[in-house]
Symmetry: C2
Subunit: 228 residues, 2 copies
DNA sequence: TTGCCCTAACTGTGATCTCAGATCGCGCGC
DNA sequence: GCGCGCGATCTGAGATCACAGTTAGGGCAA
């Protein structure tokens, strides 16, 4: 290594607050955090081995992203949406995620299409795992590969915030059988989605995403999970 | 007042962090904060008469909302968007704000329609003021009355975050003449918008909002304000 | 004059403490 | 048995301090 070597990437360590934010994000998306769960900051700080400051920062971020709410007694919690609010969230997701899917069908690079195929295969494989985490993660990865292929960073951020709100509801820990029935539907729709992108068919891509979102939402709304 | 009196609203004082967040939000939306402006937290804390803690919280929120960015040297700043990024932001705004306008045209209550008329009149009046603040505020109020009439709280929050990003660019302090030319266009489009809502015409409402957003964006892009 | 180095000041991040409000549990009185 | 009051504990918000990285300015050498 000489002084002419320009290939060294500058090292930037993620702040503790960012790391806490990432950890909480993962807990929201995976369903580990459930609607109405409290987030006791001192306890979480102890659990993560940091002081309360980075936890506060991370929580403040997630409150701003509407992924957490401050209750009237100042407690911070995962929002418990009413059925109506969940429907609203679903509609806004459909509106933005179908748009991203259509853009992706038009703009995806060959490498992105290949990555989508791989993600589809990975999702299928994750369905065989005994616990839900691999399939939840594989589902998220496939969707975000798709949305990133839309070529709109702003749209991806909008969708990311929506997923933070939806994650605890959609990924509630279900019994194995229920989950298997649910994800078989997604499996088929993901297949159609990837085919639509390959075929450069924006309408089919949007339709597949919409069906995926709606089937997941109808499943939640068909069960007595959310208050009226 | 007796012990049977149920009309007393519980008093809840906004936290200092929330107040700082509101103050910064206003500064972003009004154009007082410009792209690439730094936000020195200690200085702002002193200026607002609080310690640095609530400023940190507020800044963390706005970073999460993408309204502020953390630079590689850790400084917090108003994002300086490239022309491409601004176009992306504009497209996502069009996609969501037209949707909200169409929903509003379908769902607005008579009271909301009346409030829109009033906001239109207030905007016209604010155009006569010698400085830009009243018209910037009146513009925002009219738009958010409209979007709230859509009946989708999630959609309003998405739009709010988009406005936080767009505010510093769109509301850059302009000379009087330039601003007058700009806002005369908005004036006409706002009129069409209110008529479309009154007429329950979703397509006309969406078209008016799109034209409003695009004309403001094209104005910015036509000037050498943003980097390529 | 220019470039490099050093030092002081600035700045965000994290730690810790204090305060005030909320909650919970227990005891007492009706 | 139930309700109320009190005290202890918990909890988030705010203040303050320390640390480490960054920046800017000044001085010196080539």
């Amino acid at each position: 290594m000489t002084s002419q070597d320009k290939t060294i990437t500058p090292l930037r360590v993620a702040s503790l607050a960012s790391q806490v934010h990432d950890a909480l994000t993962e807990m929201l998306l995976s369903g580990e955090l459930r609607p109405d769960d409290r987030i006791p900051m001192r306890e979480l700080a102890e659990r993560l081995g940091v002081s309360v400051m980075p936890v506060r920062d991370a929580v403040a971020r997630l409150v701003a992203q509407q992924a957490l709410v401050v209750l009237p007694n100042r407690a911070v919690a995962v929002p418990l949406l009413t059925r109506g609010q969940f429907r609203d969230l679903t509609e806004v997701r459909v509106h933005n995620e179908t748009h991203a899917a259509a853009l992706a069908a038009r703009h995806a690079t060959p490498a992105q299409v290949a990555a989508l195929r791989q993600a589809d295969a990975a999702f299928a494989q994750a369905l065989g795992a005994p616990d839900a985490k691999p399939s939840v993660r594989a589902n998220k990865e496939l969707h975000f590969l798709l949305y990133e292929a839309a070529g709109s960073a702003v749209l991806v951020e909008v969708i990311r915030a929506l997923w933070l709100k939806a994650g605890p509801i959609i990924n509630l820990d279900l019994e194995q059988d229920t989950r298997r029935r649910r994800t078989a539907v997604s499996r088929a729709l993901h297949g159609q989605l990837v085919q639509a992108v390959e075929a450069r068919d924006p309408q089919a891509a949007a339709d597949a995403v919409e069906a995926d979102i709606r089937s997941a939402a109808e499943f939640i709304l068909s069960r007595d999970i959310l208050p009226a």
